[in-house]
Amino acid sequence: MTNINSPSPFNDFINNLKNSEIWFRVSIHDIKQRYKRSTIGPLWVTISTSIIVFFLSVVYSQLFDVPLETYLPYIAVSIILWNLFSSIIIESCEVFVGSSQMLLQLRLPFYFYIFRLVSRNFIILFHNFILLLILIFLYPNLININYLFFIPLSLIIYFLTGVSIGMMLGILCTRYRDITQIVINVIQLSFFITPILWKRDMIKSDNQWMIDINIFNHYLDIFRLAFLYQEYSYFSLLISLLFCLFIFIVSFLMFNKFKKKINYWL
């Protein structure tokens, strides 16, 4: 006889990893569904990102008076990463509420829903990488071979952080439904106060602390700096690693504390 109660948080996580095929294939299905009736399908992701990147960089390079050939790849990398961050964070708020029917009828690990969300957004990210490949083709100097290793490392950090954020916001927003609105606001604001459209060297060195305390900046830099032929910031890497570890532990403790209650809150 086995106890029917759902497994411990640790086992929930492990079971989900063991059954990776489930969340991976369901997330592929999600993407297919989204672009089902369009002819070129998920390539629309790449096209719409490319259009945004192109026009933004043309206009803003004029506005800031910077050369287009350095500014365009910068915007491209930044926007692609920012899309990943913002959509994971905003979708996290609905991760349990939006799947309440499934949660109340099926017994899947709670982490299934989170991994499905993050994996779905990574599939979108990989579609956007097509744009990066085109840019590398156009500007062969764009990528720094010495830093190539940091790209997969950053992706792992992003994935783990996404899972942690998903769990944290998922729990919080299921209990307090108005947190979703706060999160959307924070994300909108962050877009403007983070170096995405503008570059670090555009602001006075006295005021650069504003960038240094912005965690989004470090998360962007660990990937971005490998790309733009600049000095790599090991400091950003360290901060991101520590933050990733910290938030994973916090989210796991939260899950441990509230696991029993999530289904009641739906």
Binding site: I4, N5, I22, L103, I179, Y264
Partner: protein, 241 residues
């Protein structure tokens, strides 16, 4: 031999009215020391209040009781969805819920895609799904329609698809909330026959229902619950239709 054991199950639902859900109100409550919202403690509904029973192999149990007596909640806690406040539920077999058979049917996906999707979330291997596809094709009688998106199906056809998938998996331990309503007359008869066949082969069935006639036909034990407690256990013959 016991297959399921429910022991002193207690389950409470917290009730969150809209103000309770809001973070703003929580903060206001802190700053005004609870003056605004007089009702400080969360209200709970005692959905299940100390239920114990054993289920043996081959048992077909009917659960009866008025609206809000805790039937569905009991089924959901046996499924492991709601974790009890206290008490335990021990089980030997994989539980299959026929509570909402259309769950997880994706309107935009084709019939075949839905079969695989359903198999995925029920954690059935791809090989096993491929094995059962012919029987789903045969039983659902959907033919060419299985290549079409489910959105083009009539509601009866959706039920056919969902039911055929679940039945093809030959569930061993079945939970049901009311007897299924299954499409048109011809399919209904066929499906009822099939369902009875599956149930007779299953190691256990727990069904919550108001249809005493149906319960008398399929069950060997009837548990009557009211207000989250077991009133008594009776034989199906004692039910007054």
């Amino acid at each position: 031999m016991k297959i399921l054991e429910v022991k002193n199950l207690v389950l409470k639902y917290p009730v969150y009215t809209n103000p309770k859900r809001s973070l703003k109100n929580k903060i206001i409550n802190i700053s005004f020391a609870g003056k605004i919202n007089k009702d400080e403690n969360t209200t709970y509904i005692q959905a299940i209040d100390g239920i114990s029973f054993d289920v043996n192999y081959g048992d077909k149990i009917g659960i009866i009781g008025g609206n809000g007596s805790g039937k569905t909640t009991l089924l959901r806690s046996i499924m492991g969805i709601y974790e009890p406040i206290s008490g335990s539920i021990l089980c030997k077999e994989k539980i299959t819920s026929l509570i909402n058979i259309e769950l997880g049917i994706d309107e935009d996906a084709t019939g075949y895609e839905n079969i695989f999707l359903r198999g995925l979330v029920l954690n059935v291997t791809k090989k096993k799904i491929e094995e059962i596809i012919p029987s789903i094709e045969e039983f659902s009688e959907l033919g060419e329609y299985l290549n079409f998106p489910v959105r083009t199906y009539s509601s009866g056809m959706k039920v056919r698809l969902a039911f055929s998938i679940l039945i093809a998996l030959e569930p061993k331990m079945i939970l049901m909330d009311e007897w299924l309503s299954l499409g048109d007359k011809s399919f209904k008869e066929k499906a009822s026959k099939k369902l009875n066949e599956i149930i007779s082969k299953a190691s256990c069935l727990i069904i919550a229902s108001h249809d005493y006639g149906q319960l008398q036909k399929i069950c060997n034990r009837i548990i009557h619950i009211e207000k989250g407690k077991i009133v008594n256990e009776i034989k199906p013959e004692e039910l007054k239709i």
